[in-house]
């Protein structure tokens, strides 16, 4: 049976291809989007690409019913998509059509003697579970978590498979048995690129949903979309000191978040600022942590962060080990210096 990928954007394509290749079956991709995306995927070593043209004013989700019919007719053994709004909508419709189990927050996929083995985060991410399925399955891949877990080598250097970790699919990524996400983490070296697959155009009539307005989200407090976040914990001595944190957030053009004590116990910040098992799961480019020790209840919400910077006076706290950069010192001394240095450099930081 074949493996189907559902792709509607560039981000996460490489991770999806690597996960699909671990299943070891021919990969067909349904691309809902423009020809450039379809061509990019076709060059990634898949067997075939079926492109569903999408109107500019119609969201991906409107094509879910039609895509589900298309995929169900092929009777795939596995269907994968990224764990985002568009991917989930497509995947859920396919799972309904196949009456197949659908799993979210998937971090690893592998072929075993008993079927397809799937590892995913459960219970808010405090644990992982691996299940093996003999029949068809639908998998929502947590791309940000997978990307963070694949960062086994210093940034900018090739990873074990020879890729630089870009969002573009790599040639040769579809090597059967090259487990980009297998539980044992094996990953063979890249081989000779395969010729690009044929792109088949498939017309799908969307449901009646129209985009009236589409604009970049402003820095509007949405932690889920923030590219930079400054999070504060019990290292903050008084509520009035939140002004210092706000100044750093302004200097970095970042959103403010917190650990559970500051929202649920002290009420210094509203609950929608909470990051952790019971709060938001975030995936910013930069996550600056001030006065938070790094217990799993909080860190579980930050696994998708690309770079973590911790400032803490305790050299033995978990975050000193679990950050990319840990400044061991008093945040009341460090933060003003950071603000001054950022402002001296000629203005506020620009979010990428």
């Amino acid at each position: 049976m074949s493996t189907y990928l559902l792709i509607s954007r560039h981000r996460g394509t490489a991770e999806l291809l690597r996960a699909a290749s671990a299943i070891g079956e021919p990969i067909t991709t349904v691309v809902v989007g423009d020809r450039a995306l379809a061509d990019e995927v076709a060059a990634g070593g898949v067997t075939g690409v079926r492109r569903v043209p999408r109107a500019d004013d119609t969201p991906v989700e409107a094509y879910a019913a039609g895509v589900a019919s298309l995929v169900a007719r092929a009777e795939p053994g596995a269907v994968l998509a990224s764990d985002d709004a568009g991917g989930r909508a497509l995947l859920g419709a396919v799972a309904a059509a196949l009456v197949a189990p659908v799993l979210a927050e998937v971090t690893a996929v592998a072929r075993t003697a008993h079927g397809i083995s799937v590892t995913r985060a459960v219970a808010g991410g405090i644990a992982t579970e691996t299940r093996t399925f003999a029949g068809p399955i639908a998998l929502a891949l947590d791309v940000s978590r997978r990307r963070a877990s694949e960062r086994a080598t210093p940034r900018g250097a090739p990873d074990a498979a020879g890729a630089l970790g870009s969002d573009a699919p790599r040639s040769g990524a579809s090597q059967p048995g090259r487990v980009g996400g297998a539980p044992d983490g094996n990953d063979a070296a890249a081989t000779t690129p395969e010729p690009a697959a044929t792109v088949e155009e498939v017309a799908v009539t969307p449901l009646s949903v129209t985009v009236l307005d589409d604009r970049p989200a402003e820095r509007d407090g949405d932690l889920a979309t923030a590219s930079r976040i400054v999070a504060v914990g019990r290292g903050l001595r008084a509520k009035d000191d939140l002004g210092l944190i706000a100044d750093l957030a302004d200097a970095l053009d970042a959103e403010i978040a917190c650990s559970q004590p500051l929202s649920d116990w002290l009420g210094w910040l509203p609950s929608d600022r909470l990051v952790g098992v019971t709060g938001r799961h975030v995936a910013p480019d930069l996550y600056v942590v001030l006065g938070i020790s790094g217990q799993p209840q909080h860190t579980e919400g930050t696994r998708g962060a690309s770079t973590v910077v911790a400032v803490n006076s305790d050299p033995d706290c978990p975050y000193v080990r679990e950050a990319d950069y840990a400044v061991v010192g008093d945040l009341y001394a460090i933060v003003p210096e950071l603000i001054a240095a950022l402002e001296t450099a000629g203005g506020r930081a620009r979010a990428r």
Binding site: A93, F133, E322
Partner: protein, 277 residues
Amino acid sequence: MAVRARVGGGERGQQMSVVVAYAWAELPQDATVRSDGTVDWTAAKPALTPGDAAAIARGREAADALGTECIGLCAGGPSAGTPSATKAALARGVDRAVVVADAALTFAGATRLGMVLAAAIDRLGDVDLVLTGEGPGVSDAATAAAVLAGRLGWPLLSGVTSVTADASGTTVERIGDRRAQRLRVAGPAVLAVSDQAGQPAPPGMADVLAAATKPVGRLELSALRVPEVAPGTVTATAKAEPAARRGQVIDGADAAEAASRLLVALRGEGLLGEADR
């Protein structure tokens, strides 16, 4: 699969109801991981999520705008049918609650849960707007909403922060993937309401008292005839390990020097804008 998409942009009839599919599930904040890697849920208490509370509030508003009723629908294990569970939804504004409470649905997978909800909505009839809660802690609920929408043949829109329903359709605002959108849906839809849609005030005493008088209907799981979904075989469980990080430590004894070193490192990674150079 019962496809309930409407053809064309016909007017909504007043008999068309709004359904809020809410979850009554143990939240992970009090769960722990045993030494064998399995999750211990015994200390975790079931509750409505902030996303569900927001969904009920938006559902109430939509039903009022349409002059129709707002029905709360919940599918889950036996606790979903308890008075605590139904009153939690009734006190927040639904006109009546319908529950599918069965031990077979305890920790049921997203596909089965979504299909059960779709079958229940088919039983209710005359529904063309379904809202669900979205937010931290219950990822299977978000996936179940996608299966529900797929089973109904309706679009699913996630990250919804605002819902405006009128006689000819629904206008939705949402945030996702670092973009803010406003969309118009001409037909029926499933809307996953973000917990950032604005939290309603907690129910007051009058709401709690009124909840006790509102009707609760029950649907038997066996009567819905939802196919079984293979759950797979658990082969490994483990406590989550932290992601690999660089682990570079900077001595903060000289705060100015430490700040400078940190910013040099971050600029080197391209994490700060040109204005900072």
